[in-house]
């Protein structure tokens, strides 16, 4: 059974009197352990789709089932708890909390668990080790390079060991070489840690790291290219 299963998903925004149809009937099944790249022109609805899969936005219509949970039926509070255990988010601009050092940023999702402070720190350190940043645990985001910040963000995304990672242009703000390092890291997480990854990208080279690529255009999935 697919870990992500979207059936005829529509999304529209109303702004004043105007109604913008962003997603026009998306059918999408992603198997556990897949690494999917999602491409498409700007404004085609990639972020919107990703947000719906990640449970931070809701479909206007259609069925959204992710990790066996039917997101259409969940309350905001249940959805928040579900997110904390099921989805790891990685954003283009890292979105770290500037007042917290790397370890505390990574620890953040664990504040919602019953783990002891000591255990939380240990898990955060493990996650930092996986992304290769053990030596920067005490640094604040402002003291780290873009690539390092993105590694911290990835550590934060995996610290609660969620089965799914959603990444919105994770290399969009990085140079080629750093981008490759981040993509390799995502590859390792997919291969060795069994994470299902959905990654939005504009970069065909980035998409090459995925197992398959989908194209979104004007709110519809148009082609599927096997990697």
């Amino acid at each position: 059974m697919a870990i992500v299963d979207l059936k005829d998903v529509h999304k529209s925004f109303t702004k004043g009197r105007e109604r913008v149809e962003v997603l026009l009937g998306i059918d999408l099944a992603i198997d556990e352990g897949d690494f999917l790249a999602l491409m498409g022109p700007s404004g085609s609805g990639k972020t919107t789709l990703l947000n719906i899969v990640g449970g931070i936005d809701s479909a206007s219509q259609g069925d959204v089932t992710v990790a066996e949970a039917n997101l259409n039926r969940m309350s905001g509070r249940d959805l928040a708890r579900w997110r904390s255990s099921t989805i790891g988010f990685v954003f283009q601009f890292y979105n770290l909390l500037p007042v917290l050092n790397a370890r505390r940023n990574v620890e953040l999702p664990l504040l919602l668990t019953k783990l002891s402070g000591k255990q939380r720190r240990r898990n955060a350190d493990t996650a930092l080790e996986i992304v290769g940043l053990s030596d920067r645990a005490k640094h604040k985001p402002g003291e780290l390079s873009g690539g390092q910040q993105q590694r911290v963000a990835i550590a934060r995304a995996i610290v609660a060991d969620p089965p799914i990672l959603v990444c919105d242009e994770p290399t969009g703000d990085l140079d080629r070489e750093t981008a490759e390092e981040i993509l390799d890291l995502l590859g390792i997480l997919n291969r060795d840690h069994g994470k299902t990854i959905i990654m939005v990208t504009h970069d065909p080279k980035a998409a090459d790291h995925a197992r398959r690529t989908l194209h979104l255009d004007k709110g519809q999935l148009v082609t599927e290219v096997a990697a």
Partner: protein, 387 residues
């Protein structure tokens, strides 16, 4: 790190802004504690004597007018009156006008009989009664000015020169008195009325005011009006009141201190409310994407709202605590300064800090509610789009 750690870290984001806000809060709560203490003290009446069985009889129209000594027998004859003594405002300075303390010519035995709360060694009282130029002062005053029993205390008169025109009065310090009450007796320097009356240039046979002891405090209103009626049509009409009432009336002449302090504090707190609210809404605005991230990683709307509210409460509580603490620490210093004015003691009663602390938390809630509500409603997708 805990949620508190997160709140604390957020306050460190703009250190200067946090410090300034905490400092303003500190000043507001320092003012609150000091002014409320002063107001409470005025509301209770100056020199809280608890003398419900004592009446103060003053000249009707002005407490600085004097009264003829001949009134004594008439007042004493009023039914219900048990004892009477008198005091007079002498004015005068000891060395320097800044050494301010009241100086009363009194009847030594009558005075200490009237005020049993003032404790004096019987031998010293005896010496006071039998030394024409004798004087006694509170033990604290001896300490303050380094006086010893046996010293001559020179007082420079401003109202009452001596009959030979000299303004220098010299008294022999024969003893000291104390009380069991907190802070000791009010700093009043007492000397012999007989010597004063005989040696002064004018005003012989007059006194400042009477203090009368009555047998039954319940009858105070009735006895007061009897005394007042007694002199109503004389040259020296009087006004009687219990000591407590007298204190309140005196305070009322100074002004409705309670109302004034309430006015000042309202203005201060209104300002601080705006200031802190502004700080908090700024803090919220610049952090919208971060709050969205918290929600993204699984913090519920309520938790994020509580973090924002917690920040505001912590900020106000911190400022409040520092302000209250400073007032409490400054109290001994203020006391020392006040001791020489004779107005009384600056004692912070526990209710005032307790109310201030409650107010600090309330302020934090008031200021934090609106940002917390916004944080609660913040949509993740919209907020992330803005970052």
């Amino acid at each position: 790190m805990s949620a508190i750690g997160l709140i604390w870290a957020n306050l460190q984001r703009r250190k200067i802004r946090t410090y300034l806000t905490v400092f303003s809060l500190l000043v507001a709560f320092l003012l609150f504690t000091v002014l409320r203490t002063v107001a409470v003290w005025f509301e209770q009446g100056i020199g809280d004597t608890g003398g419900a069985d004592r009446l103060v009889v003053t000249a009707k129209y002005s407490i600085i007018e004097s009264l003829p000594i001949s009134q004594r027998a008439e007042i004493l004859a009023v039914d219900g009156v048990e004892a009477i003594t008198h005091m007079t405002w002498f004015g005068g300075n000891y060395q320097d006008p800044r050494n301010f303390f009241p100086k009363y010519p009194v009847e030594p035995l009558g005075y200490f009989e009237m005020f049993p709360e003032y404790i004096i060694d019987p031998d010293q009282l005896n010496a006071f009664a039998n030394t024409r130029t004798g004087a006694v002062a509170p033990a604290g005053m001896l300490e303050q000015y380094g006086w010893q029993v046996g010293d001559k205390i020179p007082i420079e008169a401003d109202i009452y020169p001596m009959s030979d025109g000299s303004r220098l009065w010299e008294f022999d310090l024969v003893g000291s008195y104390t009380t069991e009450a907190e802070g000791g007796p009010p700093p009043v320097f007492l000397f012999h009325y007989d010597f004063f009356d005989e040696a002064r240039q004018f005003g012989q046979g007059s006194v400042g005011w009477w203090t009368v002891r009555i047998g039954d405090p319940e009858r105070a209103p009735e006895i007061s009006s009897t005394i007042d009626t007694l002199f109503e049509n004389s040259l020296n009409p009087v006004k009687s009141a219990t000591e407590d009432e007298f204190g309140r009336q005196f305070a009322a002449q100074i002004g409705d201190i309670g109302l004034i302090t309430t006015g000042i504090l309202s203005a201060v707190f209104f300002t601080i409310l705006l200031l802190t609210a502004n700080t908090m809404s700024q803090a919220l605005r610049e952090r919208i994407p971060e709050l969205a991230v918290l929600k993204t990683v699984g913090f519920s709307n309520l938790k994020v709202a509580m973090i924002v509210l917690g920040e505001s409460v912590l900020l106000c509580a911190l400022g409040g605590f520092l302000g209250i603490a400073l007032a409490v620490l400054a109290a001994p210093g203020i006391n020392q300064a006040m001791a020489s004015t004779g107005l009384g003691l600056f004692i912070i009663r526990w209710e005032v800090p307790a109310i201030a602390a409650g107010l600090a938390v309330l302020l934090g809630v008031a200021v934090g509610t609106s940002p917390a509500w916004s944080a609660n409603r913040l949509s993740i997708a919209d907020a992330l789009r803005r970052s």
